[in-house]
Symmetry: C2
Subunit: 692 residues, 2 copies
């Protein structure tokens, strides 16, 4: 199928690339307008970002619900229209989401031998401030957990990493089969914790935030400081990306979906609890004491279990989980500023819009920033400027559930984006702390990010008075690279909307945020995904005055402007070569001797990286010498490799269908192939269209 | 993995596309040189093609052996160097081939109840003419058959299609389990016959050429005419393409290979016999008579079996197959003529070089033609001409075994070709008959093929005297399209070297040949893959004077020249839209009502094709208005979706490897992933290189 799609896409792409450029009115290689950078920065205002954040966080806006999908979508369209950008397109998708049961929220309790339940966990997070008191708050849950009410002995599994479960079994001889396990949040993605628990036979998983991982000894608690013992971390358990029902193709139109029973979603109930509840259960546990590195930060003795000790030796832990899956419509809002010279080269800026509750940090700090950036670029358009390449602004839906909006969109526009996207610049949380800028991305874009950060004034007056005048200066001081006189800049894993761009279609991507001091060892900022992520929290603790938000708008905007404006893209393949060499060294250090003693020749890898390095050096020499003044459609049939079949996947799916006893399965396959065929024709059509 | 490769490939591709063009010395859109077409045609000579064919067929040149891999490779390099093209690169690959046992060739016999073998089939094809008498002839076999000496009752299975086996079981109630089956060649690919026989429990498969499918009543036999009852059709059984040991990645350097025992090759012995032998077995069979459409052309009563009748009712059929697999080095020879304006756009011309024996038709008629074409283009270079885009001439190795040379090459150069290839123009057999040109290809290139055929003088004097002056005129008369005043032009299945280009990387492809009258119902030309495909056979029966060969050089050359030279590529997306609509109609006719009654909405498909059609119309309007005067590197870890791992596939393969009881399997996986990593870095390096 992949190959068949290429027949349509690539074949036509060759024509498009050559002929979709309009005849240029200006010289072929105009230089960038050097004044725009400063004009754009001066145009944007902290006050506007603050007001944006107020609007965005005025009510809870979880994916699939009215505030998120209607109110905020309309507001963004209206704001972007006023900003004067060229066009706005809304892309809806029907996807599988998940919610807890209203008025019957999830909880955990201790069930005595006589059947009485005691020590029930809070079903709603405590309302501490009027701000949090909204009837639309969705109570703590983990998305895509199945419902269930298991009762069993409790086992403490540390972070529920694969190494933790291996150690439990091999070293500590704790059998987890048939048990409910309780895991600290942190270290790894929570969805993988659920996979591991299921793999090791647990029948339920409780996730909690341990103070060792979510606060520091010198911090107070909310509302005096930003650690809330009564908060619980919501979050998805879906380990893949996009609508779970349509892997690898978009949930558009009447696309066929896998039935819910065949999806690879968690099979055991999972729910999160707050620190205030976790201590009640962990303090009562029996079994041997855990080793030092398994201990959390509560003033109790951490024990493996299984089960409770002393008066509760015959009690069980009980989970009540009423979470269920539900289909809902989500929306991406996409805005375009058409490029003047290369309209078919896209520089994309993206941020998700949906939040678990109010989302004042995650993601609305980013959304508030994006809105001001779009207004700023709109103002530049009104001054007569137009970028060389096209700018694309993306407000994603349902990121929290598993990057759903961005993944479906990339699947839908795959051919167009592969041919046209130059870079994808993601900001999820813009500001989660006041310590330093942090950036992850492909190595070849690192210098472009450094250069952008050098142009942005330092929002921290103390830093400025110490002579560090730019975002870059503080970044380099606080997060220095291990090699060279520059800031640290690491690769991208997953966890935000760059994933589909980078992993599915290979678009060079960057992810920016301004963060707290990472060396203090927090798994995330303390209020992460809790009801306490409110406007006032940001205004009071995170960024009073919104100067850091403004700096984030400036660095994001400058990076995008540069990528959109300069004739020669600031992409450095030599850095990519260096990065390959570093990765080779790391691999060698970790596994080199073991691999070599099994006959694997590392000189092969060294040789190929050398070849790449030479090629990279050479292309940059050639760049330096540039004069810059100027098939779903047809394939072999399954039963006859020689023959050409029209729409082969559908035809093969139909073959001899009548006599197959599995009528449901066979027809599902026909429906799936038919949806894919329909989609690929649309996708091919899109590559024929002019740019917006 | 696919996604990871894209990270490297696509990301860098964007830069390359923009900066690998040299600063043009001439105007940006020069028009083609209209005189070159005629100069090239006049330059090429029938006599040269004849001499090329003599050289190419002087000895057997099966893949992996000295004549093919050393003598002919050297000859081609020397000829192309003399022709004066810009550069020549030889790509070697170590791949799995298959040969029968020398001096102990395969045979079939009847084994009497007392153990005596009678009616043994010929182990070597009869030498009729001195030409065939060469010690290097490899006797009849089917490549990749396992060795074995099964004895069982014989069952006649018609063409061994899936429908034939279904009918045998359901309608005729003939049980094929444990039997040896005998199948006519024809209708479908022989590899699929072996798959079907294995699926239906047969323990051996005999393939033969029935006169009904391989000759016509008015034909004589070889050497008076070209049907040889003593000939047997060799051929591969490999149903996939490329080296069976390295699916989806190239067999280069020290690439890790799957172990032979894990390959999906045939598990039952298969061997071909000639008509002269088939009649001995089929005439003795028992069981009910077959239906009319199962009858072949021999003067016997065709019976299903199982087993023999009358005096042989207790005899069994015996097969003696000594065929084994063997690793050998094969070679592709690639020649380049650098484009003057768009050197990074490639127009590729390909033909395979290897033959089962002498290969005077398959493929040396094509190779002899390609050699003259390269000489012709070389002569144009010497006159000062240079094409706008780069021409790439490809002489493939080991096509007969399963498109191995072309597939490994496309796998190796995938990123470069996806970014740069404009079209792939294949000629396997150039001339297999004197009736008409025939062409298959992607719909969007049909008009370009028609236009090329209109420029070539008709090699048939009778046709010329009837007023049909060009190849096109005879083609349109003899193979008219079902709709419209033009020749028929169908889609591509598999079976020659266009497959990897079209199916793996989606390059628009065309396959050309000059053929016999297809309406007479031959499965292929009679001497196909037998020892009788010699120079004298071509010279005497197929194309005395080599005028048709010359016409094929001209049409192939003109098509390539046009695609390489004209500013706007002659690719028509509107024809593609029409083709989609026709395929939709065909699907509807075959399965429409059945699909609709299962709730599948055909209007969806209609709508999308309409959208595609509109987009196609629009791009051609825009083309008309053109002014023509002027990531293996980094990805989420398997156990932590959030984390970024360097070389994740290798690292995941190494995870906790020590305690796995399956040490062999786990280390094979590490070696495989390591090979893939090494390859992808090389592949990325290639996209950074300037064009040749």
């Amino acid at each position: 199928l992949c190959a068949i799609a290429d027949v349509v896409g690539v074949g036509l792409g060759v024509i498009i690339g050559y002929f979709s450029h309009p005849a240029p009115a200006a010289p072929i290689y105009p230089t960038e307008n050097p004044t725009i950078s400063k004009l754009l920065m001066d145009e944007m205002k902290a006050k506007n970002i603050m007001n944006n954040l107020k609007t965005l966080t005025s009510r809870p806006h979880i994916a699939g619900q009215e505030q998120e999908e209607i109110v905020l979508v309309d507001w963004i369209k209206q704001q972007w229209t006023e900003a004067g950008i060229d066009s706005i397109v809304v892309h809806p998708y029907d996807v599988l989401l998940s919610y807890p049961k209203q008025n019957d929220s999830n909880y955990v309790s201790i069930k005595l031998a006589n059947g009485t339940e005691i020590e029930q966990s809070q079903r709603k997070e405590l309302v501490i401030d009027a701000e949090q008191n909204d009837p639309n708050v969705v109570d703590p849950f983990n998305a895509y957990s199945p419902p269930g009410e298991p009762e069993a002995e409790l086992v403490y599994v540390n972070f529920a990493t694969i190494e933790d479960f291996i150690a439990l079994n091999r070293t500590y001889k704790i059998n987890t089969v048939g048990k409910i396990c309780i895991s600290r949040y942190g270290r790894i993605f929570r969805g993988d914790k659920a996979v591991h628990a299921e793999l090791y036979g647990c029948i339920g998983l409780i996730l909690y935030s341990d103070p060792l991982d979510y606060t520091v000894p010198w911090s107070g608690v909310y509302p005096e400081d930003w650690f809330p013992p009564t908060g619980a971390q919501r979050g998805t358990l879906w380990v893949d990306n996009g609508d779970p029902r349509t892997p690898n193709y978009p949930s558009i139109r009447d696309a066929w979906h896998q039935s819910n029973s065949s999806l690879t979603l968690p099979k055991i109930p999972v729910t999160p609890i707050g620190n205030i509840d976790a201590i009640k259960y962990l303090s009562k546990m029996g079994g041997p004491e855990v080793p030092t590195d398994w201990r959390g930060g509560m003033n109790i003795t951490y024990r493996f279990g299984p089960g409770f000790a002393l008066e509760h030796v015959n009690s069980l832990i009980k989970m009540s989980v009423k979470t269920t899956n539900q289909v809902a419509t989500i929306h991406n809002v996409i805005g375009y500023v058409r490029g003047a010279v290369e309209p078919d080269r896209y520089v994309l800026l993206g941020n998700h819009r949906d939040a678990w509750v109010f989302g004042a940090i995650d993601p609305s700090s980013g959304t508030a920033t994006l809105m001001e950036l779009v207004r700023g670029f709109g103002a530049m358009l009104k001054r007569g400027w137009r970028p060389r390449r096209t700018l694309v602004f993306c407000s994603w839906g349902a990121e929290e559930y598993g990057l759903i909006g961005s993944t479906e969109w990339v699947e839908e526009l795959q051919k167009e984006l592969q041919a046209r996207a130059v870079a994808y610049l993601n900001v999820d949380i813009a500001v989660q702390g006041n310590y330093s800028l942090a950036a992850n991305g492909v190595a070849s874009l690192s210098q472009a990010v450094f250069d952008a950060a050098k142009t942005v004034s330092n929002p921290n007056p103390t830093e400025v008075s110490s002579g560090r005048l730019t975002l870059y200066d503080t970044w380099k001081l606080r997060y220095p690279a291990s090699v060279g006189d520059k800031p640290s800049y690491y690769g991208l894993g997953s966890g935000s909307d760059f994933t589909a761009f980078l992993q599915i279609i290979g678009i060079p991507s960057v992810d920016l945020r301004h963060t707290y001091d990472q060396s203090i060892g927090l798994a995330s900022y303390p209020v992460y995904h809790s009801v306490y992520e409110t406007f006032e929290l940001v205004n009071k603790f995170v960024d009073p005055g919104f100067k850091i938000h403004l700096a984030m708008a400036q660095v994001w905007g400058e990076l995008a402007r540069k990528l959109a404006d300069v004739p020669i893209l600031p992409v450095d393949c030599r850095v990519y070569a260096t990065d390959l060499a570093q990765k080779r060294d790391a691999l060698y250090q970790q596994y080199g001797s073991k691999m070599e003693s099994n006959g694997i020749d590392f000189s092969q890898l060294n040789d190929t990286i050398l070849i790449f390095t030479t090629s990279a050096d050479n292309i940059h020499k050639r760049i330096a010498s540039i004069d810059s003044t100027k098939h779903v459609i047809s394939a072999p049939s399954q039963h006859n490799t020689y023959g050409s079949t029209a729409f082969p996947a559908v035809v093969d799916a139909m073959f001899d269908i009548d006599v197959d006893p599995d009528q449901t399965g066979r027809w599902d396959e026909v429906r799936r192939q038919y949806s894919i065929l329909v989609f690929h024709i649309l996708s091919a059509a899109a590559t024929l269209n002019p740019t917006v």
